[in-house]
Amino acid sequence: MNTTVDTAEPVVPSPETGSEPRNYLNAAYGLRSWLLTRDHKRIAILYLISVTAFFALGSFFALLIRLELLTPEGDLVSPDTYNRLFTMHGIVMVFFFLIPGIPAVLGNFLVPLMIGAKDLAFPRINLASWYIYCLGGLFTLWSIVHGGVDTGWTFYTPFSTHYSNTYVISAALGIFITGFSSIFTGLNFIVTIHRMRAPGMTWFRLPLFIWSHYATSLIIVLGTPVIAITILLVAAEKLLHLGIFDPALGGDPVLFQHLFWFYSHPAVYIMILPSMGVISELVAAFARKPVFGYKVVAFASIGIAVLGFLVWGHHMFVAGESVYVATVFSVLSMLVAIPSAVKVFNWTFTLYQGSISLQTPMLYALGFIGLFTLGGLTGVMLATLGLDVHVHDTYFIVAHFHYIMVGGTIMGYLGGLHYWWPKISGKLYPAFLSRLSALLVFVGFNLTFFPQFILGYLGMPRRYWSYPPEFQVLNVLSTAGASILGVGYLLPLCYFIWSMRYGKNSGDNPWGAVGLEWDTSSPPPTENFLTTPVVTHGPYEYNPKEVHDRTSQPEARVG
């Protein structure tokens, strides 16, 4: 059944017949209508399912890691298995959850809606990107089924090319293939944002979610091809016994590190920028006022994208790069922190004189701001040369990036899901449970990762299967936190699914929020808008009368 646009009038819901208005979910039924869809909203749902599956897999690996680390000796799994566990945890989480995550799910769903377009510029490429993601996932799963890879997600040579006996080639190919999925998404977003904005939607009337996805897409398009060729060279070296990164043949293992981190550092901005975009939307919606310093925040996103390409060497301060090179990368790494700091201040100040409602999405947003602040500050600590030498490759680093990835990206992802869930599904989820989950996530997260800062400064190296006994208490605390965090993640999975069948109808705009996506029904029709919107003012313009008219749940005591 195809989902082409037609000019028929939407079915008006009538209490007698009880028929549902036509929307993208009920426009067509059946597996083919989903697997061959060109509708960006359905593709977003396809991604939601696959991304969640990979997140569950990566979390399972994390669970085993943390269980092993309850005791100083290795007693749960062999060291070899442990090495595969942390490698696959990293590969699955980075390439199959964090990088696609928000752009492929929330971005795909919302970018056309927020700019007033009917779809992305290239709907078929959008669908292709999901299939490519799945294909890359299959290669990686094939690796996992055959015992996984033990090189670390960073594939450092010559270990990965000449010493590892695991399925490096198939995992590398999986990542290579999935890179194209990412590139197609980024390319689609850039063209869409440039060419398909509704009449009157000037650049400075765009929601900040769009700005941050635009910046993210720039990074994707410029950076991903470099990891593609690098990982291809690793696979080629292993397969064909070449010597590009092999010191015995005159190759340079540090060249691999440069090529790898040239992408993988900007990659972390691919992971955080979309989440920052979500936070801007949440703060504006739940304080019911524009984000303070809109233009500054918009330009800060672009600034992070640009500066993010200039700092990769800070992963290699002790790897043998010269002191002068290290100095340059250190100062640039300090600079890249400034736009992020500025954003944090702008979000916080947005709350001043706001009308603040602590519904679940806002809880995630506020949690993000706190955790990202700490995570980001530990980042500048790492940019400080004298300090990094001591804590590099220890749990301090692990704690730092989990504060950003989990305390940052995942909080934004969950906050966004909770905010736009009514838009996506037309349903509401239980308010108490969702707030409880947010609390569990926040507490569990801090208990898991704060002790790791201490462990790192004490000197516990990362990727260690066994450790000296004096590190045990902190490891036990960390594992306890991880259990709580896990429960916090399981609950939304349950109640989101529950809400699809049993949740109350949300109406078009349960939050009384401002934005083109809220000007259409929840869920939206396939073509997004029955008539093309014309934009006459900036984003986030709240006034009381309009809020009253917009809000479909008058008490606004939802979620």
Binding site: R195, P225, L233, L249, L255, T531, T532, H537
Partner: protein, 232 residues
């Protein structure tokens, strides 16, 4: 309401048969497709860029070995290939011109000419690869150059040159094969009268891709084939 609306489905709005429904008009579709192709070419630049980076690093590390290894590449064949590719870019441009002047059969002719020239390129590359294989210059376990300058450690290092040679020209050839496939499809569609003076953007976008693949070769040829060539 703070925003007003426009109804784009007003009766009488004529649709070009190639207009996709999420676009408002052909102009928007054309601009989007063109921007998309340019962005894709940017990703290709970054992709090959990684290889060029490795090349620069290693050529700087052992210039003598690179020069000695480069002598094993056939400058004549490489030169012919360069001329062939440049001609194929000309025929590609002429195909687009043919569309602009509404000459359907000419479009097909020039597309086929481009495909033919591309195939000549690939044929010559096959000859070169076979020659390398014959002379045991394929890096890996069977690498055994006959050249006194490439023995021992120098030989091991020259494997890096040959690895880069095969990977760079191999990926380039892969891009050409894909390009030929695309042009074949376009040739069929052109024969069916799909493109005319008002609509031939797919030809232009494919032309951009084809010119890009040509330009990559313009860099590969001197860097791989002509190291120290003046001294031979």
């Amino acid at each position: 309401m703070a925003s007003t609306t426009i109804d784009t489905h007003a009766p009488g709005a004529a649709h070009h048969p190639a207009l996709q429904h999420h676009f408002d008009n052909m102009e928007q579709q054309k601009e989007s497709a063109t921007l998309g192709m340019w962005l894709f070419l940017v990703t290709e630049i970054m992709f090959f860029g990684g290889l060029f980076t490795a090349y620069v690093v290693y050529r700087h590390a052992f210039p003598g070995v690179f020069a000695a290894a480069s002598h094993h590449l056939d400058v004549t064949l490489g030169g012919i290939n360069t001329a062939v590719l440049i001609c194929s870019s000309l025929t590609m441009a002429l195909a687009i011109w043919s569309a602009q002047i509404n000459r359907r059969k000419l479009i097909v002719f020039f597309l086929l000419a481009t495909i033919a020239l591309g195939s000549v390129f690939l044929g010559i590359k096959t000859v070169e690869y076979r020659d390398k294989f014959h002379h045991h210059l394929v890096p890996g376990t069977s690498f055994a150059p006959d050249d006194p300058h490439l023995q021992g450690v120098a030989g091991q290092q020259s494997q890096i040159f040959f690895a880069l040679y095969f990977i760079m020209t191999g990926l380039h050839a892969l891009h050409m094969i894909i390009g030929i496939g695309v042009l074949a499809v376009l040739a069929v569609l052109s024969w069916k009268g799909r493109y005319d003076a008002h609509y031939h953007n797919p030809l232009e976008c494919s032309g951009l891709y084809w010119h890009f693949v040509d330009i990559v070769w313009i860099f590969l040829f001197p860097l791989l084939y002509l190291i120290g060539a003046h001294a031979r």
